[in-house]
């Protein structure tokens, strides 16, 4: 149900979310031997975008104008459901994880139809890839989730993540590791990171996420950029909750340990992005299906272990 004292953490999440891309970029700059943009860059970008006025394509319809709002609020809605700082989420109930996945789904639906709204050559490309990759990532996420539900015996995200402990990792190291790796791949896929998508590529032909928002400007772009950062934060917090586990941390250390975990996720993403190149487009589905296969192996291990 609704937990009021988590609202503070929710607001904290909303405030901190744009910092993750900053950390990733710093790590990448370090690998490249550069200074890189400041960690707070996304805050400045969003603040600047909010002051600008928008330009729309003459081909576009209301869909283009409505989509950023839907994307923004659906991500915000998902943030209400996802536990962070090893505490309960603002809203918990049996099956909230389904609502979370489908809130991301409606955001993606609008992103895709908005991309097709402008009738551009490139945005359709991004849309067509996005829908396929996200559909393939879905089974991996759910397979991992159902093993966790089985382990913890709870059907809400908050319940699952508060039920995780070091003991669980010690008993089934293989299963937990497989889920963590498969969720890491899901995170990279859903948030358009290397090796699935390169946020910094300079060629529209090869983009996925960035190409779909080519035509957005000003407040709309600001909302989308912010929502993407928040989505990255949310997926990372799932990963942190899975790997560090709430049971392992004494409650007075919740906030620093969680923030350290998030920092580490950003560093890992930055290292991945600095050390490996983007996959060729025809190999990406294999990579994502591979994450599903890992999750299914975890499920099979669990079934066999019973």
């Amino acid at each position: 149900m609704i937990s009021i004292h988590s609202v503070g953490f929710f607001i904290f999440t909303l405030l901190l979310a744009p910092i993750l891309p900053g950390i990733i970029n710093k790590v990448k700059a370090f690998f490249g031997g550069k200074m890189g943009p400041p960690v707070m860059q996304l805050y400045y970008d969003v603040a600047k975008l909010m002051r600008k006025s928008a330009t729309y394509s003459q081909t576009s319809t209301l869909v283009t104008r409505l989509a950023p709002v839907v994307i923004f609020f659906s991500t915000l809605g998902a943030a209400l459901l996802i536990p962070s700082f090893f505490r309960e989420a603002c809203c918990r109930f049996a099956g909230d994880v389904i609502l979370m996945a489908y809130l991301f789904g409606i955001g993606r639906f609008f992103m895709v139809i908005a991309a097709m709204d402008r009738g551009s050559a490139f945005e359709g490309m991004g849309a067509s890839r996005e829908v396929l990759y996200s559909a393939l990532a879905e089974p991996a996420f759910f397979c991992g989730l159902l093993v966790l539900i089985n382990e913890t015996g709870d059907m809400s995200l908050s319940g699952i993540f508060s039920g995780l402990s070091v003991e669980l990792w010690r008993q089934n190291p293989a299963i937990m590791l497989l889920i963590a790796v498969s969720w890491m791949i899901v995170l990279l896929t859903e948030n358009a990171r290397i090796p699935v998508d390169d946020p910094n590529t300079h060629l529209e032909l090869t983009m996925i996420h960035e190409v779909m928002i080519l035509d957005y400007s000003s407040k709309d772009l600001g909302m989308i950029e912010y929502a993407s950062a928040l989505k990255l934060w949310l997926f990372s917090s799932l990963l942190v909750g899975l790997t560090i586990t709430a049971g392992a941390v004494p409650s007075y250390l919740h906030i620093p340990v969680f923030l350290f975990g998030m920092f580490m996720v950003a560093v890992i993403i930055g290292c991945v992005e600095s050390t490996i190149a983007r996959l060729r487009l025809i190999h990406i589905p294999k990579f994502i299906v591979g994450s599903g296969a890992l999750a299914i192996i975890a499920l099979i291990l669990k079934i066999a272990g019973n």
Partner: protein, 661 residues
Amino acid sequence: MQQFLTAILVITCGGLLAWLTGRLKTLSAAIGTGSCIGGGLLALIPAAEILMSGGQTPDIVLNLPLGAATLRLDAVSAFFSLPVIFLGALSAIYAAATCHHDKHECGGYWFFYCLLMASMLFLTASANAVLFLMAWEIMSVAAFFLIIHRDEIASARNAAWSFLVASHVGTAGLFIMFAVLSTNCGSFEFASFIRTSVSAETASMVFFLALFGFGVKVGLLPLHVWMPDSYAFADAHVSAVLSGAMSKMGFYGLVRVLMFLPVHSASWGWALAFGGLLTGVFALITALAQHDLKKVIAYSSMENAGIIMMGLGCAVLAGVWKVPSLAFAALAGSLLHVLNHAACKGLLFLGSGAVYFGTGTRKLEAMGGLAKTMPYTALFFGIGAAAISGLPPFNSFISEFMIFLAGLQAARLGTSPALLLAGVLLAGLGLIGGLAMATFSRTFGLVFLGASRSDKKVEPRESGWVARLPMAILVLAIFLLSLLSPFILIPVTRVASMIASASGTAFTDESALLNIQPVTITAAVTFFLSLFVMLFWQIRSRFFSNGDVDSRCTWDCGFAAPDSRIQYTSSSFSQPVSEVFSSIVRPYRHGEKVAGFFPEHASFRTDAPDSLLRYLYMPLFGLIDRAMVPLRALQHGRLHLYICYLAVVLLILLIWKVVAA
């Protein structure tokens, strides 16, 4: 019950009158529509009463030559008559609004339309195998005549024939099934089927025969091949009824048969769950490669049948495992999905009809940008597309949520088979949901958004308000079904507990509450989020739009003269998906290669006929055809020899009889 029968009579007589007045198109349409709406309202009252109170009407016993036959309306039949009543009446309004475009004679068309609706209502009310099969047969034949309406088109004729063959093959299975049941208990009455116990082997045989027979109607994986073509070549309102109501009769039959058999076997549940999963995934990856608007929607019917089947399978397994709360979530979810799918699919098919009237084509490659010329249709179709992809805050999300919830509960159970079931439900529904989103964002985007791909100079026109009215009502139904879902679940619970109690699973209040509470919270959360979206959007576009410019051309890497030809087409959008699933879809590729430094001509087109049709049925029927060639010698057209055949057969029968005696 009398009232329900009166409704059926009103619809049938209205159909007959419409046929007789076929010359006067307006009058005939008025009579046809009037009787469908009037009959629908008449039938709705007893159905709603039963759903609200949970009782059943007193039986009416007909004295047929074959013996007494009972007509009865209970909660299950009342529930399954709802899509028939609503879609029948709404599609009739649509048909009336569009029939003046039709060059054909409309009288017979109206007659078969009314007959289809009446036979489906009669089907739900018959509690006797003979009546059931009669209604089933009338339904199939009426549907055949509706599909073959445009019989000057060869493809429409082929589609109708394949429908007729497929549905009769299915009916043959049903004949055997009912014969087995009735020899077992010596009566054709449903009530006696329930009373008599059957051995486990017979029960399994009955179930799999039913799965085959009803599977043809719902579009279970290898039996679906008639579906895409028939839905594509029938008129929009007919496809809406066929997909939203007629295919649901298959589920009605399946549920009835499950109620006849008190002891279920786990193998049935697995067959339903895996069958549903394969059906759903196959349907969507084929749908993504289609270029005919109505075929895409037809394949999506198959996908939703798969989802409902997965829910039913889970309910059967939960019944076997004796876990009432799991059975409740799965059964209530799939029943709710029957209603939700009927509303969405009706809306999408009527929308596709409006698009066809506006543009004169069903080809996705020739559409685009219709949102500007057909704003209402675009809005309705967009809502339908988001709803059928199972996205919140729309109705299909609620029912899929319940089936997901069943998967989560199965995961919590912890036994190995339960984990496997959870894997099928969660990962399967996740993949299906993602692919459905891909299918319908593609369809909506290609048809309504971007720039027009058509080379015709004619401006597409919006359909009139009468044709838009049923679509608007269906949109309203979609919102009500999602917003009021906790209340709609009360009668659905009643139906579900009736189905489950037949096999000895009793729902407690606790098991219902465990599932209804999350649905309530979900409905509330999504409602408030969509309220926020609307509010914020209005604020953004009213108060924070100073200096916004909306007259620039689309950014295309500096190319300043983008036109419609640079857009992604339906082939290009589905190319990555077809590539990944190329072992299943196998599209044909047509077109000229790009050659030379300044190529003048280049084209590319894909075409993806149903793989099962191509690789299973075509070779199979070809083989049968060749094997039957020698038999043609017997069919030579000489009448006296035909009479000789008769005499020989009679003689053989006579000898057999004498010897046997």
